[in-house]
């Protein structure tokens, strides 16, 4: 059985290639503001387990709609031979090269995806194109792409299209979110009912694949936390130089390492969501792309002071509880209470500062020489800031269409300046704090359980984004 095949057809520069780019998550497709750059058909086959299951064909734009329609008006042959007749008639006319290319895939049961920019006025040339496509007799779906926010012309378009097309759907290639793509699968199933089951299977596979990507992203977030939590920068102390500047250099190197971990995580996110490079527009001028250790970033993102105090109290209280247990319970929880109080007050007064210390232990291949050690950094706020920045980044990345080629920020409907973790419940924050407690040492016996809870929480948050 042949696989469902759909060709995107339309006037030049209406966004056919953008639609293909968004649908196939391919940012390498040439999208040019100059019309007529697509000069021949390009085929994109969706493969599942190495087997092609769906084919999309990108075509050049119409160049001679008026002439083609006139020729069709004069056609006296069978309607089913119309396209073949046109291709034979204009086989050697260079003026009709684009038109031949765009009409050549229209045979058999190929579905037509007619792409129009519905943010501009409808003109006669559009009606001619619609009529040409109607005469092919093939299943036709009109995709209303919007190059600008203008919606005044939409009723005209819908009215004209409804006469000649089986289905009309809105599809903004620049905001080609996953949900939009799934909706298109439903539309294709409606357009070509003979492929309904097949397309449903593809849709389920796409959904599964998307969910697995989100799961993978949650694991990348955990890796980022783990690397940051345990990171220690170590360098040999130069006895010939003053110590203080060396401490500052070591602290900066530590910070740079953490920035590197974040960059690596972002690259991973992009790979997971099929972006070959970091989209420049994401987070442009936003809090989550500014300098990680900037005061402003730490004020806006991460936990509030009160939440941090609770976090400090929970950690210190746990240590106090350990002392109570060690004392056989005869202290009646005095240490726990003291720990809670001390930790809470400590965190309220101020967050820990990143410190560097001399470390007389030999290591790093410099036996006998003193070492400068920075980290691991005890402040959970660093982890929460990184978490917020990762989630905010993912929030935009997951909605960043592969058809976008610009570097303009993309903030529609996204509240990107708010910390996400601040709004989470106490129970959710507790899950994260428990993770921190059990992952400081690589061999902690309960780290697998807290990891499981951490992953489930981040996964749930990512699914909601």
């Amino acid at each position: 059985m042949s696989i469902p095949t759909y060709a995107t057809i339309g006037h030049p520069n209406e966004g056919k290639s953008s639609v293909i780019s968004a649908l196939t998550e391919n940012e390498t497709i040439q999208i040019s503001p100059t019309p007529g750059q697509t000069t021949s058909c390009a085929s994109y086959k969706l493969t599942l387990d190495q087997e092609a299951v769906l084919e999309l064909i990108d075509t050049p734009g119409f160049q001679n709609p008026s002439s083609i329609l006139s020729w069709m008006d004069d056609w006296e042959g069978e309607e089913s031979d119309l396209i073949q007749g046109f291709l034979s008639e204009f086989a050697s006319d260079p003026d009709f090269h684009h038109d031949r290319e765009l009409l050549s895939p229209l045979h058999g049961k190929t579905g037509i995806l007619y792409v129009v920019d519905a943010s501009r006025p409808l003109r006669e040339v559009d009606r001619q194109e619609m009529e040409i496509l109607r005469r092919t007799g093939l299943p036709r779906l009109a995709l209303l792409n919007f190059k600008t926010d203008q919606r005044a012309y939409l009723p005209n378009w819908k009215e004209a299209l409804s006469r000649r097309f089986n289905l009309i759907r809105e599809f903004d290639a620049h905001e080609g979110s996953f949900a939009t793509r799934l909706n298109l699968m439903d539309a294709l199933a409606e357009l070509t009912p003979e492929h309904k089951d097949h397309l449903q299977t593809i849709k389920s596979s796409l959904e599964r694949d998307w969910d697995q990507r989100i799961q993978e992203a949650s694991l990348v977030v955990e890796t980022l936390w783990l690397r940051t939590l345990r990171h220690r920068y170590q360098t040999t102390l130069d006895a010939a130089r003053p110590e203080e500047p060396q401490f500052e250099e070591a602290k900066e190197s530590y910070r740079e390492d953490i920035r590197g971990f974040e960059r690596k995580a972002r690259k991973e996110f992009c790979r997971i969501f099929q972006h070959s490079s970091l989209p420049q527009g994401i987070g442009k001028d936003s809090i989550f792309t500014q300098e990680l250790f900037a005061d402003k970033v730490w004020k806006v993102l991460g936990l509030s002071r009160g939440q941090l105090a609770t976090a400090g109290a929970v950690t210190a209280g746990a240590m106090g509880a350990g002392l109570d247990v060690a004392a056989g319970g005869i202290t009646f929880g005095v240490f726990t209470a003291a720990g809670l109080l001390a930790g809470g007050i400590g965190s309220w007064i101020g967050t820990p500062k990143l410190g560097a210390k001399k470390y007389p232990f030999p290591g790093g291949g410099s036996l006998g020489k003193e070492q400068i050690v920075v980290g691991p950094f005890a402040d959970p706020q660093l982890l929460f800031v990184l978490l917020d920045r990762s989630l905010l980044y993912l929030q935009q990345l997951m909605k960043w269409s592969h058809a976008r080629r610009d570097v303009e920020p993309f903030l529609k409907g996204l509240e990107e300046r708010t910390s996400l973790s601040k709004t989470w419940s106490d129970q959710e924050r507790k899950t994260l704090l428990k993770w921190i407690k059990t992952h400081k040492d690589p061999g902690h016996s309960t780290s697998q359980e807290t990891s499981k809870a951490f992953r489930a929480l981040i996964l749930a948050k990512l699914r909601k984004l």
């Binding site: 030049p12 000069t39 994109y44 990108d58 001679n64 006669e124 040492d441």
Partner: protein, 439 residues
């Protein structure tokens, strides 16, 4: 059942996972169905590495280095034990060898260290990082959550216990050597008013685990008491020689046996860890997910050639020298007040517009947000043929209409596209002016 990992393989897995995450997606993974996590990851490891690979070699070197380290510990411990025992068993004939010193140092010291170890496991765990800082391969320390870490810890633990075994073997060998080659005389002494019966009870208790055999009798214990003020005259020679089997049994039971048991314990955990590594780190979990995910993606056929980056030449903004006719597409003229528009054009551009069909020049009002297509060029060629080579053509490039005699100005991008396209006509009397905001 999954095949057991070797320490070198597991270490290589950690290093490769840290270094080569991009390779994962390039891997053409064979069918993953029915494979355990361990088998799947081993397959990935085999496909991504090769015996001559840097990371493979590094892992093997790390394991080899640890083996040398273990051998070193064992040899040093053997000599330490032997040396300590030899020193304690030094006998010049002028005074007896004090069994308390031998037992206290060589057995008591070991028992004490075991007790400290048992009661400070928690404290030691928190300081394990310092020990690992020196002992674990540096590359492994750079991994945030190495899967091989637990195996490495058990390996090091076992190595230290093997050192303990060697220490005790050294003690025993040195003791046997001294017993065989010297005439040793043991005794015991105390300042306290201790009854020899009490010492006898203590010795019986200590030797109880091996059935009380090899222990000196009560008489021998009493006869080997050292009282310095009395000298050695009343000490029985046979009794002083009866102690060495007991001492060796003490070393064997209280020193060697716990080390053997701990070595077995460590080896058991080491092998169990290699038989079923947890692979629970987020990086390993991520890799497993990637390998198990059914490949889903688009294959691309031929693509359009890349657009030329050479800018096309433009066309001039022609200033007409004579009155012009206006040519407006029918669908556009329906929305406009043509008289008002003519007036606006005349005012804006100083062009005289005429309804006279005899005029030779034409002003084409074109919505240039519509891209120029082949038919557009054909239209101009055809008009040129109709009106002759002397007629002036001017394209008034407008945006969408915004009133009966007004348009949105066209975008610079659209203007550039049209200028480039019209220049293909190579028509010297074809110009283009953009619609401007009312001046």
């Amino acid at each position: 059942m999954s095949q057991r990992w070797s320490l070198a393989e597991l270490t290589e897995f950690d290093l490769r996972l840290r270094d080569a995450d991009r390779n994962v997606i390039a891997l053409d993974t064979p069918s993953t169905t029915g494979k355990t996590r361990s088998d799947l990851l081993r397959q990935w490891l085999r496909l991504t590495g090769n015996p001559d690979d840097k990371l493979t070699q590094l892992s093997k070197t790390a394991v080899r280095t640890e083996a040398w380290f273990r051998l070193g510990i064992c040899l040093i411990s053997l000599f330490l034990g032997g040396g300590a025992a030899s020193a304690l068993l030094h006998y010049g004939g002028e005074r007896l060898i004090n069994v308390s010193a031998y037992l206290g140092v060589l057995v008591g010291g070991q028992l004490l260290s075991l007790l400290v170890l048992a009661f400070s496991v928690g404290w030691l765990r928190s300081r394990l990082g310092v020990l690992e800082e020196i002992l674990l391969p540096k590359l492994l320390r750079d991994c945030s959550s190495p899967e091989s870490l637990t195996a490495w810890r058990w390996r090091l633990f076992t190595s230290f216990q093997l050192g303990g075994i060697s220490l005790n073997l050294g003690i025993l060998l040195a003791t046997i050597w001294r017993v065989v080659t010297s005439d040793l005389a043991f005794g015991w002494a105390t300042t306290l008013n201790a009854d020899p019966e009490a010492i006898s009870t203590l010795i019986q208790t200590l030797s109880a685990p091996w059935g009380g055999t090899f222990a000196p009798t009560s008489e021998q214990i009493a006869a080997s008491r050292i009282v310095f003020i009395e000298g050695f005259s009343n000490v029985d020679t046979a009794s002083t020689a009866a102690w060495w089997p007991f001492l060796m049994m003490c070393v064997g039971f209280y020193g060697l046996l716990p080390r053997v048991l701990l070595t077995g314990f460590g080896a058991f955990h080491f092998h169990r860890n290699l038989s079923s590594p947890s692979f629970s780190s987020p990086e390993a979990e991520q890799l497993i997910q990637r390998l198990r995910r059914p490949p889903l993606g688009y294959q691309y056929g031929k693509e359009s050639p890349k657009p030329s980056s050479n800018p096309a030449p433009g066309i001039p903004a022609l200033q007409p020298t004579q009155p012009m006719r206006v040519d407006i597409p029918a669908e556009l003229s329906e929305q406009l007040d043509l008289d008002a528009l003519s007036e606006a054009i005349e005012k804006k551009y100083g062009i005289t517009l005429s309804k006279d069909l005899e005029e030779t020049g034409t002003l084409f009002v074109i919505e240039i947000w519509q891209p120029p297509i082949a038919e557009t060029l054909r239209f101009f060629r055809s008009r040129r043929e109709q009106e002759g080579s002397g007629a002036e053509f001017l394209v008034l490039a407008v945006g969408t209409p915004r009133g009966p005699a007004d348009f949105h100005p066209p975008s610079e991008q659209d203007l550039a596209i049209w200028r480039a396209k019209l220049s293909e006509l190579k028509d010297p009397l074809l110009g283009l002016v953009p619609w401007e905001e009312t001046r």
